[in-house]
């Protein structure tokens, strides 16, 4: 079953076409990474799915209905949240806002306590849920934010750069948690990312947005030097580590197009070093 179906979608903001002819679908229980250079319209795509920005052309169906604001079956996690720097809010308070934050008026919902408890348990955040958010580590905050977003067990989960500004260990932890949430809730998960490497083990599909186009494919189809170089408008090389992991590496312009009269090693960078190791191993 499809959690989302887009047909010939086009979006225009302030008279400018951001992208057009977008046709793709997301399956329930799948994880999709959205890649693309800055300003390509990744966040705009999320806003369209959330019903905050209308499509200029084409059609979009989200969980069997037209996109609408405030749909509880769609969960959204922003990249930056003011809450993270607030001293007077614990993780539990913030997760609670995911439950009844949008509700006006007096009175409390008795179900809240139990629903919040379950969200904290699912995300493994119970042990630090009662500490102020600003005292937590980056990875802990992301886990709390995932609990906030999954309070209603949404069937479509939109995560905007959930791995940004995390160290490698925390990135791996969040990737595992995203996978766990998908497995337990059966949600279709969309992850906007800059770096495909940490996500590669769990993603089923890649949407790439560049040059006013949205295209979809499997990881194998996208993790390909020609496609990635075109996507970023910058030379990209794929490196296979001794254990078989494929690492995407950006190249210096000069290395990608060497001078005919020999290569200057005076500004040898990490990227070049990586690429050279790769060559040795394959030869």
């Amino acid at each position: 079953m499809n959690a989302l179906t887009m047909k010939n979608g086009a979006v225009v903001l302030g008279g400018r076409t951001i992208w057009k002819d977008a046709t793709f679908s997301l399956e329930s229980g799948s994880i999709t990474a959205i890649l693309g250079p800055n300003g390509a319209g990744k966040s705009t795509l999320l806003n369209i799915i959330l019903g905050l920005v209308p499509l200029a052309e084409g059609s979009l169906e989200v969980l069997g209905e037209t996109p609408r604001r405030g749909n509880r079956r769609v969960g959204y996690m922003a990249q930056t949240r003011q809450a993270d720097t607030v001293a007077t809010m614990t993780g539990r308070d913030y997760v609670g806002l995911g439950f009844d934050g949008p509700r006006f008026g007096w009175g409390r919902d008795k179900a809240k306590r139990e629903v919040v408890r379950q969200a904290l348990a699912l995300t493994g955040t119970t042990s630090f849920a009662d500490q102020p958010l600003h005292s937590l580590s980056g990875g802990q905050r992301q886990r709390i934010a995932l609990a906030h977003t999954t309070v209603f067990k949404p069937q479509l989960l939109l995560l905007d750069e959930p791995l940004a500004a995390l160290d490698l260990a925390a990135q791996a932890e969040i990737v595992d948690l995203i996978n766990l949430i998908r497995d337990t809730t059966g949600a279709a998960v969309v992850v906007v990312a800059h770096d495909l490497n940490p996500l590669a083990p769990i993603i089923d599909q890649v949407l790439w947005i560049a040059r006013r186009q949205v295209r979809s494919g499997t990881v194998e189809e996208v993790v390909n030097e020609d496609v990635l170089s075109q996507l970023y408008g910058h030379p990209i090389e794929i490196v296979v580590t001794p254990r078989g992991r494929r690492v995407i590496v950006g190249l210096e312009e000069e290395f990608a197009h060497p001078h005919p009269h020999g290569h200057d090693h005076s500004h040898e960078g990490v990227h070049e070093h990586f690429a050279e190791v790769y060559e040795e191993e394959t030869e």
Binding site: L50, L52, R69, G70, R72, V74, Y76, M77, A78, R81, Q82, A83, V86, A87, T88, M89, T90, D93, Y94, L97, G98, D100, G101, P102, R103, F104, G105, W106, Q131, P132, H148, T149
Partner: protein
């Protein structure tokens, strides 16, 4: 007159009801001012109100009507134009300057300005009329009622605007709502402490409360408590010892903040020693 007789006089009684209502409203709204880091907006609205009050006095009206019109107007303008964080400071700054300039003009046009100006700038809660006190108390209660009904969405928008928008809340509408609450609260706080000392009721109690607790609702109630304690004691000292009530309230609110910071620093040091 003895202290007991002084406290029983009608003007002290009226002032007591007024400061009680004002302190509760200012403490509650002040929590959101500190949470949303909009202290500058609160400051600016007070100064805009100065122009309104001066204009009303010039036209022979009660200053409070001028205050209401301009403070609400400025609040809505800042809320509307400055909903995006990037240009908020510029919008607030320009609004503030334009209004202060107008205030100066109005005062220069009004011949008997000295007394009126003084009470607008520094507050004169013991001098306001009974009908003004009634209006101030009613407005404060109105603010408290609206805050109690919109507490959760206000908190949500303040700590995670994007997620709140995705859940169907309008960031702009909530910003306008908050700035109107702030506008009305500034008007009533000005009656007690004046334009220049409006921070003592709007910011200091909430800032002190924020240092001492980590739960949202608890912080808000603590801010209301600090504001109320400063207002009651300030009124009492003003009547008992003398000196302007606004001075006493400001001094007490600042002391509360200082005490909170000191307590927090001591606690942190002790916690570190335990860890070590």
């Amino acid at each position: 007159m003895s202290l007991r007789e002084l406290l029983a006089t009608s003007f002290v009684q009226h002032a007591f009801y007024a400061v009680t209502a004002v302190a509760l409203a200012a403490g509650a709204v002040g929590y959101f001012v500190v949470l949303r880091r909009q202290a500058f907006a609160a400051h600016a609205i007070g100064h805009v109100g100065f122009a309104g009050a001066a204009g009303a006095v010039l036209l022979g009206l009660s200053p409070i009507f001028g205050l209401l019109v301009l403070c609400l107007g400025a609040g809505l303008l800042i809320g509307f134009a400055g909903a995006e964080l990037d240009d908020r400071d510029a919008v607030v700054g320009v609004t503030l300057t334009a209004a202060l300039g107008l205030g100066v003009l109005f005062i220069s046009l009004y011949s008997g300005y000295a007394n009126a100006t003084y009470s607008i700038l520094f507050g004169q809660i013991l001098g306001v009329t009974w009908s003004d006190v009634g209006l101030v108390a009613a407005l404060s209660m109105g603010v408290l009622l609206v805050v109690s009904l919109t507490y959760r969405p206000l908190l949500f928008v303040s700590v995670d605007a994007q997620s709140a928008a995705s859940r169907g809340l309008s960031t702009r509408a909530m910003s306008l709502l908050f700035m109107s609450l702030l506008g009305v609260t500034t008007v009533v706080a000005i009656q007690v402490v004046g334009v220049l000392l409006v921070f003592s009721l709007l910011v200091a109690p909430a800032a002190a409360a924020e240092v001492l607790t980590s739960r949202p609702l608890r912080t808000m109630f603590l801010a209301m408590g600090f504001a109320l304690a400063s207002a009651w004691l300030g009124l009492f000292f003003g009547v008992w010892i003398g000196g302007p009530v606004s001075f006493w309230i400001t001094a007490l609110a600042s002391l509360a903040y200082l005490a909170a910071r000191t307590t927090d620093a001591t606690r942190t040091r002790r916690a570190r020693r335990v860890v070590a």
